[in-house]
């Protein structure tokens, strides 16, 4: 066990913090009000090389691990960019891991460098209107044609599809009834998001206005064989490969945003004077904030441990799930307390914490519900019978 501060991690944090300082609270407040993808932020991240943090050096990336990526995402969220900033690049950080692991050399040469340079943006197409967490029952189908496939179906909650050039999309190629196991017969593509065949409708939502979420209606989208990732029928197992890292990253984002909320709350509690003294002198104010500090520290350690295991190739399912569950819960608590500490001002947009609270609902709900994580822990760790 070694808790010595890691020089490289500290320097990543420092560099990212400096970069994020260019995109201040006013910038994100404006984005939250008017929407519009934060292209300038995305570009700045690409220019500094952060988009390729996990991509192998051979394809223009830095070849670092999920530990480094989680420091990156946590620092972005903690800067006050929150989930708006994090989601703008989240998919590019680790979403293409199935391509890195299972793609051909030619595919990697073709797909990865433009992503690292920020010239192309990717989105992730798994969830559907009738298949949220029950992934194997998704209905989007890919039909074999000469030289490739044609895709039909619908996808829901696809982030950044308004601006994405390509979509990593999971489809069914063999009907579920004809498969030995429901997890078989699914195929993964990294397809061009050709808007002649895909209707992308933005979902108006509670928070994170500037990073769009969408419903996709796919009607005959042609995809060539060259854009199929790995073998036909094995898409589900390829996707699984990215689930744990995604949970670790989202946990880190929740910790970061929770810290941003806590910082604003403590600053306000120090400055705001009522009954002749700062409100932060009241135990009713300072104890909940102290509690949140403790909780966020614990959540960060959970996320670090999960990342450490992942980077060493160790099984980390329960760790990644626990980190995402706990970080989202305590991050939400920190945001709620930050709003409450501000009193009426907590409800005013100009104090920013209400935006954090709205954004913090994302890590609570996505990419997997807290209830399903509890099911996973109960079943896989505690050995209790499966309940669903």
């Amino acid at each position: 066990m070694d808790f010595q501060p890691d020089e490289q991690l500290l320097s990543i944090e420092d560099a990212v913090r400096t970069l994020c300082a260019r995109f201040d609270a006013a910038y994100w407040l404006e984005k939250d009000r008017l929407g519009g993808f934060p292209h300038d932020f995305h570009r700045a991240m690409a220019e500094a090389g952060w988009l390729g943090v996990c991509i192998p050096e051979a394809y223009g990336g830095s070849g670092l691990g999920i530990t480094e990526a989680s420091i990156l995402m946590q620092t972005i969220a903690a800067s006050g960019a929150g989930l708006s900033g994090a989601s703008a690049i989240h998919m590019n950080i680790f979403g293409l891991q199935p391509v890195v692991v299972f793609g051909s050399e030619a595919q990697k040469q073709r797909f990865l460098p433009p992503l690292v340079r920020g010239e192309e943006k990717a989105c992730f197409g798994v969830t559907e209107p009738d298949a949220g967490l029950d992934t194997t029952h998704l209905k989007t189908r890919a039909e074999r044609v000469r030289g490739g496939y044609v895709l039909h179906g619908r996808k829901l909650w696809i982030s950044t599809a308004q601006v994405a050039d390509r979509i990593l999309i999971l489809t069914r190629t063999t009907p579920i009834e004809q498969c030995r196991k429901p997890t078989q017969g699914m195929t993964l593509f990294y397809a061009p998001l050709d808007r002649r065949y895909v209707d992308v409708r933005e979902i108006d939502k509670m928070g994170r206005k500037c990073v769009d979420s969408n419903e996709l209606a796919i009607d005959g989208l042609p995809v060539s064989d060259e854009d199929r990732v790995g073998e036909e029928g094995r898409g589900f197992e390829y996707i699984l490969h990215g689930l744990n890292p995604e949970r670790i990253l989202i946990a880190s984002e929740a910790v970061g945003l929770g810290r941003a909320a806590l910082r604003r709350a403590t600053d306000y509690a120090r400055e705001r004077v009522v009954f002749g003294r700062p409100i932060g002198q009241n135990q009713a104010i300072q104890h909940p904030l102290a509690e949140s500090w403790i909780e966020l520290e614990a959540a960060e350690l959970l996320a670090r441990r999960a990342a450490w295991k992942y980077d060493r190739g160790l099984p980390c399912g329960p760790d990644a799930n626990a980190a995402k569950y706990y970080a989202a819960e305590v991050g939400f608590r920190a945001c709620t307390r930050a709003v409450a500490t501000h009193g009426g001002m907590g409800y005013a947009r100009e104090y920013h914490v209400e935006r954090y609270l709205r954004e913090m609902m994302i890590p609570r709900i996505a990419p997997v519900s807290p209830q399903l994580i509890l099911c996973h822990i109960a079943e896989k760790v505690l050995g209790l019978p499966k309940s669903y």
Binding site: N282, Q283, A284, H287
Partner: protein, 383 residues
């Protein structure tokens, strides 16, 4: 109309004035005759209470509060009984007032009138008899489907079999009233203390619950009683049990408030810290909610509410009272720190009595389940 309203008003005023006088005299009596040192001394004594004190309470007229004047009682109601229960509970008197002056009295009153029944009631009123009622197998009401004790006719009388638990008082009862079921229905059977198979289950507070076994036990006379009357008597005892728990909550909170006002740390009373102030406010709110639930239940008993409403309100009072008392006990200890768990300090006496009384006649969970059965969710009251 106006005249009638005024007379109702003046009746109400007269009763509340009478209640106030009663509460004052109970408080004066408790201060003089029931010091906490006495409760401390009587822990684990045999019997667990002083028969002479039961006689003193009878002398005040309190064991006969609910008993008809014809049988030597005062013919008063549950509001008055609650004033006595609260005063005794606040000073931790181990005397079995609720089991005897409420539960036994209400069961006997519901039995068919007769010489023996009247004599038993008169004995409770004058303090010469301290009967314990036995009829429960599990916590809560006696289950009409699964009676703990069964009776059958035998030459010249009855034979009883079965096992009853949670019998109060656990020691010192002068006779037992066994609630048993025969082919003919429910009845009370009298059994002298001598010759009974009794086991004692010691409680945290130094009193005990008795476990009574009957194997071909002979009884001469059956006092028939309806299932509804049994249910009513247990509900009435349950509400009085809630009154006791509420009194314990109040004392534990008062002790804590005193302590946090006087205990100085970092140069100031610890009660000046918000973390402790707010917790005590939470306790006060829980206590007031309990008091409101208990008050409404007592009102329902005194106005003869229908069975379902009476039972629901009794459940609610007990749920709130038990949870508030147990929570207050935990918080009181926490706010006292180490001294809260010393035997020398009085808080522990209250905590231990709370542990003994909270589960009696069924704990909060049991009564929550019972409440739900009484009030099944419907569409127009979903959730």
């Amino acid at each position: 109309m106006t005249g009638r309203m005024e007379s109702l008003d003046s009746d109400e005023k007269a009763r509340s004035e009478q209640l106030r006088l009663l509460a004052d005299s109970v408080a004066a009596f408790a201060a003089g005759r029931l010091p906490l040192a006495r409760a401390r001394r009587l822990r684990r004594a045999l019997p667990e209470f002083e028969p002479a004190m039961m006689a003193e309470l009878a002398g005040q007229g309190w064991t006969g509060l609910l008993i008809d004047e014809a049988c030597g009682g005062l013919s008063l109601g549950f509001a008055e009984a609650a004033a006595v229960v609260e005063g005794l509970a606040a000073q931790l008197a181990p005397e079995p007032y609720v089991p005897v002056a409420v539960l036994a009295v209400r069961l006997l009153q519901a039995a068919a009138p007769g010489a023996r029944r009247n004599a038993l009631l008169a004995g409770i009123a004058d303090g010469s008899l301290v009967p314990a009622c036995a009829g429960q197998e599990t916590a809560g009401d006696p289950d009409p489907e699964r009676p703990a004790l069964r009776a059958r006719r035998a030459a010249g009388g009855w034979l009883l079999d079965g096992e009853a638990r949670y019998v109060r008082p656990g020691s010192g009862a002068s006779l037992y009233l066994l609630l048993a079921r025969s082919e003919e229905g429910w009845a009370l059977f009298e059994a002298p203390a001598a010759g009974l198979e009794l086991g004692m289950e010691p409680q945290a507070d130094g009193t005990a619950l008795a476990r009574l076994r009957a194997r071909g036990l002979r009884a001469d006379e059956a006092l028939p009683i309806s299932a509804e009357a049994i249910a009513a008597a247990f509900d009435q005892a349950l509400v009085m049990n809630a009154v006791e728990l509420l009194a314990l909550s109040r004392r534990m909170r008062a002790l804590t408030l005193d302590y946090t006002r006087t205990r100085v740390q970092f140069g100031k009373p610890i009660g000046s810290f918000q973390a402790l102030q707010h917790r005590q406010v939470d306790l006060l709110i829980a206590e007031e909610l309990t008091a409101a639930a208990v008050r409404e239940a007592i009102g329902a008993l005194d106005t003869g509410a229908a069975a379902a409403r009476r039972a629901s309100l009794a459940c609610r009072a007990k749920i709130r009272a038990a949870e508030t008392a147990l929570h207050t006990a935990r918080e009181a200890i926490q706010m006292h720190g180490g001294i809260g768990v010393t035997d020398e300090y009085d808080l522990g006496l209250y905590v231990n009595r709370t542990l003994a009384l909270a589960p009696w006649l069924g704990n909060a969970r049991l009564h929550r389940r019972r409440w739900l059965q009484l009030n099944p969710p419907t569409l127009d009251r979903a959730g």
